[in-house]
């Protein structure tokens, strides 16, 4: 299994906050929060373009390993505060969701 540290480095992600000392076992991409809650799993990388505070709540409840904000989206200030408080790991990237998924797939399946 790849570690989040290594994966983030390989994918060129920018770290915003939260611990990166986790193992990654999969990836889920989606923006509708109930779908994410229904399908994302513990240890997944969650790729989304949503950046509001509810994203942090969902990440915490599903226990995904991290949230990756695609397309250069930045975390809302109140969401960042919540992420830091709950120790939810967040990254940003200028890449599209598709590009991030293909990259993640390459390293997760290695």
């Amino acid at each position: 299994m790849v570690t989040l540290d290594k994966l983030a480095h390989e994918m060129g992600l920018t770290h915003v906050c939260g611990d990166t000392d986790r193992e990654i076992c999969g990836c889920y991409a989606g923006d509708l929060l109930s779908w994410v809650m229904s399908h994302a799993e513990y240890g997944h990388v969650w790729i989304t373009i949503m950046s509001n505070i509810n994203v942090i709540a969902v990440a915490g409840l599903t226990e995904v390993a991290c949230v990756v904000l695609a397309e250069g989206v930045q975390l809302d200030p109140d969401a960042r505060e919540a992420a830091e408080k709950q120790n939810v790991c967040v990254f940003t990237s200028p890449l599209s969701t598709y590009e991030l998924c293909t990259l993640a797939g390459k390293y997760i399946n290695e």
């Binding site: 929060l33 109930s34 779908w35 229904s38 513990y42 509810n54 915490g60 409840l61």
Partner: protein, 140 residues
Amino acid sequence: MGENIRFHFDVDGDDFSSAGAASVEVKKQLRKLGFSPDVIRRVAIAMYEGEINMVIHADGGTVDVEVGDEDITMILSDRGPGIADVEKAMQEGFSTARDNIRSLGFGAGMGLPNMKKYTDDMKIETALGLGTTVIMKVNV
């Protein structure tokens, strides 16, 4: 376990930033009590969906959680408009949420189906104009 442990929360209406606070707190408490990650995840997600529903549709409400020897019961009560057609509301993809709710990532019509999916038993008591109570149980 001896006497059942109970939690009570008030959920503010129209406040998406604090929605989820009750679920996060319950999750923390269940972890302290030593429940399995699967049980904790199911309770937390079902409760969060319920909280969000109360914020979107009912101007808030209350959540009561009771931790028993055999199951965890969540009772979510509101004084909102009630659900006109429960069967329809239970269908995946059916939603009456406004567009501004969708822009926050909600309103996919998956809330009640997720609550059913993650619990072992779910009952909805609703009356138009009076409110809705959802009772969910997760076996431990």
